[in-house]
Each structure stands twice: as C-alpha cells, then as structure tokens.
Subunit: 239 residues, 2 copies
C-alpha cells in the first residue's frame, strides 16, 4: 500500500493520532509501519502529504505531519451502476474502482443477481469502506467513493436513473450490442453513467429499460469477461 | 464458465471421452455438467462447437459432438513480458491475460521480484495450464497461450528481447514516463511486446536496459495500480 489513509478527525494540530484498533492493526499488518518511518499519509476526503510515525503501540499511533500539500489525482467522470456481484468479486471490484478513480458507485439488483448476495456481510458500510480505502491507499487518493444500494431494478431505472442522466451520457455494457466500447473519451465529453451486468448478463427486459432511458449499448468484443475484469477493461478503454 | 475445454486427444470420431480425474472433477465442480446437457465445448488449440454430455461418472465423461464450427476469437497481437508477481496475483493475471486473448507470456525476474516467488508451486506447468484454461473457458477461446520463464533479467534482455522486437514495437509500463499508454492501436499497427513491472516497479537499470533495446516507456497516469489491475488496464487501452 502506497498511502496511509486516516479519518479526518485524526488530525490535531501538527499531529495525527490513531486509536481505532482496526486502523492500528491495518497500520501494522498492511503498512508494516514502524516508529521513525516517514510515510505518505492522507486524510479521508481531505489533503495528502507525508508524516513521520513517532510512536506505535497497542493503544495508539502518533504521527508528526511533515507536509500535507501533495496534489490529489483527478476523479474519473463516471458513475458506475454495477449489478451486485458475488461477495469476493464485489470486494475486488470496489478496490479496483476506487483505485481507478471512480467516485460514484451504485450496486443494483438485476434478475440474474443471486438474491442471497444482498445478505452478504460484505455489504455492511464498514466493509464497503474498508475495500474502498484499500483501493485509495493503492492509488494514492483520499476522496472516498459513495456507494448506493439499489435492491429493486424498476424503481431505480424509472425514478433515479433519469436524474443521473440529466447531465451525463448513459452507456450499458452488453455482449452482442452493435457498438464497441469507445476508446479514450475526450476530456470535455460529458460524464458517463456506465451500467455493467452480472455474470450471465442483463435480461432483455433490463436492456430495453436502459434503451428506453436513452442509454446506449456497448460491447467489449466476442470474449466474455468476468465481471471484475470487465469493470477494469471498460473504465480503462473509456478514460 | 462458458466453455468446456478438453485435450485434443479426447476426440474419437463423433465422441469426446474424458478419463483424467482432474478434468472430471473440473467438469462436475466448475461446469456443474450433468448427462443430457448440451454444452459449448472446445479442443485445446483446435476447433470449438457444441456437444451433448451422454454419460458422467467417477471414471469417465462421454460427449457426442453436435458441431465443431464456432469461430475462434482473434488473438491480441501482443507478447506480455510480466515481472513475476506473487502467486495469487499470478494466477489471476494468467486467467485475465488468457481471457483477453494474449497468446505469448514471458514471466521475468527483475530486481524487485521476491526470489521466493520462483519456488512457488503455481509455476508448475500443469498449474500454469490450469489457470490459462480457466481464462479460455471464461472467454470461449481454444488457443492456449505459451508461457516462458526467464529467471535472469540480463540474458533475457540482451539475448532474447532483440529477436522479439524484430517485428514488434516494444513498450514498457512505468510510472512517471513521458507518454501516456496509447488508446486503441490501429488494426494494421505492428504487434507489441509489452513489459510490465513488479509491485514497486522496475529499477533504473532495468528501465535503461529497455530503452537501450529501443522500447518506449508509457504510463497509466498518476494512480499506482496493482499489477493484476495494470495488466488488464494496459491491454484494454492498447487494443
């Protein structure tokens, strides 16, 4: 991990103080931090820079800030609407989306999403945040994506999607569509709402609902990719 | 999995016969195949089509071929030279590269590759093939990539790389390079040799060796991605 990302409340003057046991464990086990180390640090949704770890024990970690003026990378202009994948694939997809700079994520129920996935402990807010933080720590970014759960397809598409599309272009990835996923959108192009289906894809009704909302179907060629691979592939081609 | 990929030796006339216990387990557990099912089948490095599973028990599986004339997707014109990642990341990267259509893979030692990775059981030929088959079964392709192990950087770069570059363009991915990874290479562009570093990147000596071989450095922006994410991201942008 390339960045230690801490809650904004950690900062007290020129020091950062961590007492949350989960964060302390993360500092020791993931970052292998030790007193004396100078580390890249960031505050959630705040600035980023470097700090020296002065003390680390079972109760707390104390850093002295060296500076907090490293530029934050630009977000991707995209809202990903992802059919809820199975838990392990969700975890990796959240990390990848956070690392690639996605800031809005909707997890959507579609017909081919197994209903049991909605009961997964991976959907608890602190679990979601944990995976997003791993992604941000990997890519050195501090702005946490927002994750919205939409357990019903129709109310999402009819009531919320039109608002999202007011100032964005809608795309949905679906094998067999006419148009290939475009490469390298212009920087001044409108933001994108990108819908990605589950293993097995969207059903016809869902495809028609996206089309009725003026979204455009795109494909990634004849090869069928796993969802977590397709997410990275689509975002890397579009931006 | 979208395709059952079997050894070419399985075909006897209009039937496919499987007796290898590992393949039988894979058929039952991964494909959840049952007699009567019509399945997409392919023969390794051979044709692809559909077959009906007539019988499946602990000793053998017998299919009757329905047809073997489904078009095989085109390979990506790229040879990936990947610094050997840690074993779990290697497994996923092999699956992803196979699924995306990569047919030549070299696993390379570089300074920041942990030497212990070369002792991993994941490097046994049948383990490598297993992960490649999972990737091909995902994307519906039959042509197995070749994997070459290069345990010494210098002899590879000095003795083998020049030959690979005779009819290809060399690119190496490295943060901080001047040029961004290009988007969507033209179909008539020469094939690519694409070098991708380990966690922590190439060292200066390695970068200079690639440059001396006339390879061009490219970057993926300021975000540092995990190797398995970078592999998919680079291939999806280039092709």
């Amino acid at each position: 991990m390339n960045l230690v990302l801490l809650p904004a409340s950690s900062q007290i003057g020129a020091q950062l103080t961590v007492t949350d046991p989960r964060r302390l464990k993360h500092l020791k086990e993931v970052h292998k931090a030790a007193p004396g180390h100078s580390l890249s640090v960031g505050l959630e949704n705040g600035p980023m820079g470097r700090a020296r770890l002065d003390a680390l024990d079972d109760e707390s970690a104390i850093f002295t800030i060296e500076h907090l003026d490293t530029p934050i990378p630009a977000p991707l202009p995209v809202h990903v609407v992802l059919a809820l994948p199975r838990p392990r694939m969700l975890a990796r997809s959240l990390e990848n989306m956070a690392a690639l700079g996605v800031k809005q994520i909707t997890l959507l129920h579609t017909r081919r999403v197994e209903k049991s996935y909605w009961q997964s402990p991976e959907l608890a807010p602190d679990k979601l945040t944990h995976h997003l933080i791993l992604g941000l720590e990997q890519c050195k970014d501090t702005r946490l994506p927002t994750v919205t759960l939409e357990k019903r397809f129709k109310p999402f598409v009819e009531d919320r999607l039109p608002g999202l599309l007011e100032s964005a272009q809608g795309l949905f990835a679906h094998p067999g569509e006419t148009y290939a996923c475009p490469h390298g959108r212009a920087l001044d192009a409108p933001p994108v709402v990108l819908a990605i289906g589950p293993e097995g894809g969207f059903i016809d009704y869902e495809v028609e609902a996206f089309r009725a909302a003026d979204m455009q179907g795109i494909h990634l060629g004849s090869r069928i990719l796993r969802v977590e691979t397709a997410v990275v592939s689509l975002l890397s081609r579009l931006f």
